[in-house]
């Protein structure tokens, strides 16, 4: 049991930053992302005894993060910030012009579409795994991914796309 506890500690410590980055993409706000990750990891700690293998914990953590995020968008105002406050809070090392524009554009997408984009393109998961994690049909995932990517590009100001090309 002590060995299992050790593995859980390692998992929590090792996955925290990766989960935070996905959460940051979902929320667009560092404080909210921190809260989301903390909530997720506390749920993982509370529920890990029901999970038999470490890869189950990985999937459970991702699913919990996404579900907590999506349901937070139906919840109390404490979980929401006025959009206007999001892109202007600069943080060293994070906020390139392109980054700000993308986060602003992401915040305008529906929560489920954002979740699909993050899982498919950021976490690089397959359509099948994404569908399973979000409890969606695979066709729905494909459609969210295509529409989300198109909407993201459409919402970005032209200058941001120029910046992206220059950076490439």
């Amino acid at each position: 049991m002590a060995q299992d506890e050790g593995a859980l500690h390692d998992f929590v410590a090792g996955r925290r930053t990766a989960l935070f980055r996905s959460a940051f993409l979902l929320c667009g706000d560092r404080d909210e992302a921190d809260d989301l990750v903390q909530t997720t990891l506390v749920k993982v700690i509370l529920g890990w005894r029901r999970l038999e293998r470490l890869d189950n914990i990985e999937a459970y953590a991702r699913r919990t993060l996404m579900n907590t995020f999506i349901s937070s968008r139906r919840r109390f105002w404490r979980r929401e910030r006025p959009f206007g406050e999001l892109p202007e809070q600069a943080h060293p090392g994070v906020d390139s012009d392109l980054g700000l524009s993308v986060r602003a554009a992401l915040s305008r997408l529906p929560a489920k579409q954002r979740a699909v984009l993050v899982l498919r393109y950021w976490e690089d998961l397959s359509v099948e795994t994404t569908a399973e994690l979000l409890g969606m049909r695979q066709n729905t995932v494909k459609s969210h991914a295509a529409r989300g990517a198109a909407a993201l590009r459409a919402l970005l100001p032209t200058e941001a796309l120029v910046l992206q090309k220059e950076a490439a």
Partner: protein
């Protein structure tokens, strides 16, 4: 950013993340401690709930044995909340101010989010709280919260200024901004249809009201639209009682 891939969407997301690191203080021990607190509270909730059931049975027993019909209790409450069942001035006031919206009751919703959002602070305004609104078998809710500035360290002060107009930045649906003599009022709509009113009070804090279709898990079937209209939301946001002491 020289590490562009052949996946442009991933590149865009990468730019959005940058080198963001969690700002959370404390290591994993803090998370394990938080989990322990949740476990303890769950156990206490089970015990508290059982005690409340026992107390309820004790109270009901004489009425049942006497054959008198007990008045039907429709108030939504949480047994282990600790809130006293005293006459609720806020509920009475809101019912008077919002005729026809449905049955207003004070409620408690457990959003199950340990962490910074779980900080329990004393209520500062007479109308603060979460209120369910039931009509036609469906239940929505609205919440009122008075916040003092300074609770979010690191936040740019300009966002607290009554002159800051979030509507001008775009991105918020149905956004309206109104400059008031003692601050400003911004009302906007979230993705899920929830209406939010944010009244900024010059140099003091703000009143935030969330007007939501409901929470199916806690309150049952949701309403088709938030229970309060935009005008009613504005009325409550500007109600002088907001700022009265509880």
């Amino acid at each position: 950013m020289n590490d562009m891939t052949d996946n442009p969407v991933r590149d865009l997301l990468g730019a959005a993340v940058g080198t963001a690191e969690s700002g959370a203080h404390g290591g994993t021990e803090e998370l394990f401690a938080a989990a322990s607190r949740v476990r303890r509270r769950r156990r206490a909730g089970v015990i508290g709930g059982a005690a409340a059931l026992a107390a309820g049975a004790t109270l009901l027993a004489p009425q049942l044995s006497g054959g008198a019909a007990a008045p039907r209790q429709t108030t939504t409450t949480v047994a282990s909340s600790g809130r006293q069942a005293a006459p609720d001035r806020a509920v009475a006031h809101l019912r008077k101010q919002l005729p026809g919206v449905g049955r207003i009751e004070r409620t408690l919703l457990d959003f199950g989010a340990p962490g910074k959002n779980e900080i329990i602070k004393p209520e500062q305004g007479a109308l603060e709280g979460i209120f369910s609104v039931s009509k036609g078998g469906r239940t929505g809710y609205f919440s009122i919260d008075l916040r003092e500035y300074g609770v979010e360290p690191g936040k740019d002060p300009k966002f607290n200024s009554p002159d800051y107009n979030a509507c001008e930045t775009g991105g918020t649906a149905d956004c309206s901004y109104e400059r008031l003599s003692d601050g400003s009022l911004t009302i906007y709509r979230l993705d899920d249809g929830t209406l939010v009113a944010q009244r900024r009070l010059s140099g003091r804090g703000d009143v935030l009201i969330n007007d939501s279709r409901g929470n199916r898990a806690a309150l049952g079937p949701e309403m088709a639209a938030p229970p309060l209209s935009r005008d009613q939301l504005r009325k409550i946001a500007l109600d002088p009682e907001e700022l009265a002491k509880p």
